[in-house]
Amino acid sequence: MVLKLCKVIRLLGLSAGVICLLLLTASFSWAGDDNQPPGDRQVEVYEIQAEESLTDPEDNAWEEEDWDEEWEDSSTIADPLEPLNRFFFHFNDKLYFWVLKPVATVYSGFFPEELQIAFRNFFDNLRTPARAVNSLLQGNARDSSEEVARFALNSTLGIFGFGDFARDILGLRSSYEDFGQTLAYYGAGGGFYINWPFLGPSNFRDSLGMLGDAYLHPIILLDADWGVVIGAWTFEKVNYTALTLGDYELFTETALDPYAAVKDAYQQYRNGLIENR
């Protein structure tokens, strides 16, 4: 009884904190910036950025040395758990071919692509509160307020997030910040590589990040049953697989050591997100 009360209070406190943060960031203005009207976006970006990049010294930050030395950069991620990681890589691989792929193939026969995209938007929208908080933690009030605006608009006008109204009409794009990136912002290294069963490639820092972001996920904030959480997660995974059928096979079948290739791809992908603030 007391335990349950404690849990409720903790959750209330968490929700209150999140709502305060959201309100705080919402008060920053995000309108009136250089957001392109979505219709003209492509051409505009093409011209402006093409022009800018030639004159703006900041954009020319990369130096000639980088080109040659980049190949030499051998900061491979530490992998003390390699035997275990390889075991779970194999496990996930089998899971994909024996369960996930057949299910997703049948699933995509029932649901048209438009619906799959709508579901993806829905799940993506649920991650927006965590993104807003992480942008703020990284000192980016503008991105944070954009995430708040995205969440508010897409949850209402976008009908529970099924449509990406904020992007399509206002040109507001997500910055995809997560807690792993926030930790990196404050200087945390990736730590060692972890290939989780079911969850796939990660590292020590990003695993902590996943845990942190989970606390800001509406489904956890609403204290849903574990069955519901796992069901929702599975559905999201199947939906995502249906939208990317074929990608995984193509990558692993054209790699010589798929484990090493996936490990490196994860590291490069994460580093790209961290550098891209």
Partner: protein
Amino acid sequence: MCKYFLQNKSVFLLPLVILIVFNLNSGAFASASKDPMEQLQQSVDEILQILQSDELKRPEKKDERKQLILNAVNKMFNFREMARSSLGQSWNTLKPEEQDEFVGLFTSLVEQRYIGKIDSYTDQKVIYTKKLVKGSKAMIYTAIVDKDLEIPIIYRLEENDGKWLIYDLKIENVSLIVNYRRDFDSIIRKEQFAGLVEKITKQLEKTETSN
């Protein structure tokens, strides 16, 4: 006599015509090669045209379509340079004929990974967002809109004899060269170069038969 003169004149004119045509041609070529973004766009448009052609989508044209795509891709990439940088230090320890063999294998491997992907593309839009040029090197930022998502692709090009050739591409920040380098490293460390060649050959055979 008159006939002879005419013939003679044409003989005289022919080199001139060739010269003019050649000059015009090289002039057009030089102006087209100035801008890496325009050149990339041209090549990508060429591939998109092949992909979108209904005529080529018919099952009996499957091989022709693939060959056309391969030809277009081969014109865009500097596969030798890519093979060299994907091997790193090991490249210099190889004999010239081993290098040639490896370039061939590497080319097939990359073709498999990316043509397999390209092949499933139909009406995706390509957006060009930014270009950076420094001397003979350039980075072109693009994105492909696939199923309502923008996937960023960065091409790195180098100018060779007035033509910009791709020597690396980053899809969602994952560099093709760096990725293959780590992949190859993991094999070379255990099984040396011979093991690597064997693995690639096997891999290519496997996908060949499954297709």
